[in-house]
Each structure stands twice: as C-alpha cells, then as structure tokens.
Symmetry: C2
Subunit: 251 residues, 2 copies
C-alpha cells in the first residue's frame, strides 16, 4: 500500500558474543526470513548487540571502585563497582539524587547511568557499556550490507532512555549512518501560507522509537528493518541530535 511504513522485526539473531560478526548475523537472519535489503531501508539495531559484538562488556569482579563510588554506593545501597563504571563512562554528572545518576557520556548523550546496563547480559555480574563510536559502528554495518547485497540501507543504533517529566522509557538514536537524523523544514510554508518556524523533526529518534515496537524489551529481536519511509538523504551523525549547551535550558 502507498502511504505505508513497515517495521519488520528480524527473527533468529542468536545471543551475540564478543568478536561475533554482527553484520553477518543480520544478513543471515534476513535471508532466513526471505527479506532482501533494499536501498531506502533503515536497519535499526539495539545498542546491546553492538556493544556485545564489540566486546564492550565489563565483569564487575574486575572493577576496583574508588572512594567516591564507594560513598555513593553505600548511601544509596548500590553496587560500588557498578557506580565506579558509571563514573568512568561519564564526562559529567547532570543530576544525582535518590540514587539516580543522570550522566553525560563521552559521546555527549545524557542518560541514566551513562548507558551502563546490567539487563540482557549473558552472564549475571557483567554489564555492557555503550559502543565507543556508535556512528562508526552504524557505518560499518551499512558498508558491510552494501558489500554483501548491493543495497545501501541507512543504519541507526538505538538505546533506551528515560525522559524528564515523563514516565516510561523510549528508544533514541545514538548512532546514525547513511541518512540525516533531522528533517529541516526551514523556510517552507504550511497549507495556509504560514512559514513554519518549528522546523526540525528528529526523525532518527522517531525511527528508533518505532523500531522498539518490534524489539520489545524481552524479546530476542534486536534488529528491525523499517521500509517505506523516505528519510532525508545525506551523511549525518548522531551528534546532530545533541543540543548545543548554550541553547539548552535543562543542563
């Protein structure tokens, strides 16, 4: 049908381990369900499998917490080793209260625990860190899919963050390749002839949120393909989604 965007979940991605070839797993899963990649597709991948493939896993037993981490952990009944890793992954603490740490990561992302996550790990007692260069990870998958299939989809890597003021978590884009993450309507006019002033839609975040409808939180469906959406063409990066501190009222 025209006027239609499809979100297709990729079945059968196995548990991903350090050193695994994630793109090969994606290509195999697509082939197994008779999905041929097309240029114009958007491949949306959860951070968790990227981090695992890239070996961004830390065993808490290997972590020696510092004094600050130990103090925080004692006060809020947390694992000091986990707090230590969160601090190491942070460039800045944005808010810290009631045991919640909202951090700015070295990428400039603002999220709880600097993206350090202890859910959906294969071994209890380990945590995953965010990929070091999510844009680069996305670009690598994109290039590998193009080499293998001739189709060059856009690729988005997502993570699940909370939001100020609102309950519940939502997926956001933390890495982007092969598309612009924002559509800019500046200078265009709406049907009444009024020049549109709110001009920018964060479509990479909207695609990330849409993909989560397929991923689910528990299901083993860490990759979705979105088909039928005409994304803005260009070589964008997830940095474009980060607001300039000067223009941010909620630093």
């Amino acid at each position: 049908m025209a006027n239609e965007v499809r979100i297709i979940g990729l079945d059968g991605i196995p548990e991903v381990r350090p050193g695994d070839d994630l793109t090969a797993l994606i290509l195999k899963a697509a082939t197994d369900q008779d999905l041929a990649f097309q240029s114009g597709d958007i491949v949306v991948i959860t951070q968790k499998v990227v981090s695992k493939a890239e070996g961004r896993i830390v065993d808490l037993d290997d972590v020696e917490p510092g004094v600050f981490a130990m103090e925080i952990a004692e006060r809020w009944e947390k694992d000091a080793r986990l707090v230590e890793i969160v601090l190491r992954e942070s460039a800045r603490i944005v808010r810290m209260d009631h045991g919640v740490m909202i951090c700015e990561t070295k990428h400039g992302l603002i999220c709880a625990n600097a993206g350090v996550d202890s859910s959906n790990v294969e071994k209890i007692g380990t945590v995953t860190l965010l990929p070091e260069d999510p844009d680069g990870s996305a670009e690598q998958v994109r290039q590998r899919i193009e080499e293998a299939t001739g189709a060059a989809p856009a690729v988005i890597i997502t993570d699940t963050f909370g939001r100020p003021w609102r309950e519940g978590h939502v997926n956001f884009a933390i890495g982007v390749a092969g598309m612009l993450p924002i559509v800019d309507y500046a200078g265009q006019v709406d049907p009444a002839g009024y020049e549109i002033k709110v001009t920018q839609m964060a479509v990479a975040d909207e695609l990330a949120a849409a993909s989560e409808l397929m991923h689910g939180k528990l299901s083993r469906m860490p990759v979705a393909v979105i088909r039928g959406y005409e994304y803005p063409q260009g070589s964008g990066t997830a940095d474009e989604l980060l607001r300039d501190p000067e223009r941010d009222l909620f630093r």
Copy 2:
C-alpha cells in the same frame, strides 16, 4: 508478514473546521482507501485536527494582553497577544529564557508555549490551543469508530514537542483511549535470568513517534493507523505518562 508493524497514513482528510465531525472524516478517508478498521488497530491523530474540530482556535485580534505578557513580548520581540494566550494556557512556567517559554499545561504536559501553535492554521493570525481533554477526545473517536464499524481500535492523540538535551522535535502522546500507555515488565526476567529493573516502556509515546513518520510536518496526513502492534490491554489515560513531581529531577 509476521513480526511486522504497519503504519498506514490516511489520505484525503480535508481541512478541518470547528464543528466538523472528525470521526466521520476519518471513517470516510478509511473507506476511500479501502481500509477497514480492525480491533487491535491504533488510530493516531495529531492534536491539530482535534483542536480545530473542537473549536480550540483563538483569533489573536480578540486577545487583550496583560502587562506581564506585554513586557515579555517587548523584551523578546514576540507578539504580546500570543504570549498572553500561552500564559492563560499554563499552570506553571518551567523555564523561561531567550524568549523560549517551557510551560506546564493544565493537563500537566510540559512543552514549549503550553501547546499554543500558530503553524498549520487555516487563517493567519489565529492559533490553536490543545484539546481541553485529550483523553476524552480520544475516547470519543474510539467509541464512534466502534459504533460505525464494530471494531474498537485504541486511539492516541499526539503533539509535537522539543526535548531537553536533544535537537529536533518528536511526537508524543497527549491523549489515549482503549489501551495502556505504558508496558510494565516488572518482575519479568531477561534471557540470562536477570530480573529487569528498567521496567516501563512508554509505548504510547513510541506509537506517537512512529505515526509522525507518516504525518510529516507539512503533509495533510493528520491520521495514521498502526496495525500489527500488540498494545497493552486496558483503559489507560495519558496522565500515566506524566511523571510525579516528587520523582522528577528536572522540574
């Protein structure tokens, strides 16, 4: 295909005017493109057409700005009448700087300009206000579709908000009927046996974001139907998406 969610845009919704029967327009548009509603569908509607149908339109010429509105307007080179309406729609100003007003609406939503919007209006010099009771508006559409077709879809009403820390706008759910807006995974375990602690996904917001991929900002496609997503059953309200002030670090 299994593992697939479809976002279908409804074509041919005309310019909506106060007093129009929005549900009748939706039913006609669906019939015209051979879309038969099914139970399990989610009908996602932009606030703008709901506000217009409900007559939530103000002509700026009818507004007498107060002293505070005039002072703000002069300082930031804004229209004092517009500022006055924003103040009237606000329960609280959350941040105010550089001419930006982040307001808490009477519904408890936190957004720029309390949802007052001068884009996509039929007549320049008018603005739309948010629906007074977006949950009620959603429920009304839901009931009317059920009466007409026998299928009882969930209904979400959306608006486009900015976010702290991130560039670009995204659609959020401001009204919900026929579903729970949040999926709660509390107590469930992930594949490794680790109990999931980040338990709540704001699926109504994810559905809202997904629908925007069809709406676009300029296109006349204010209604989308999402099919194939198993939303959480229940009678929820958009209030459930609002964080308790006690638990909010960014008030």
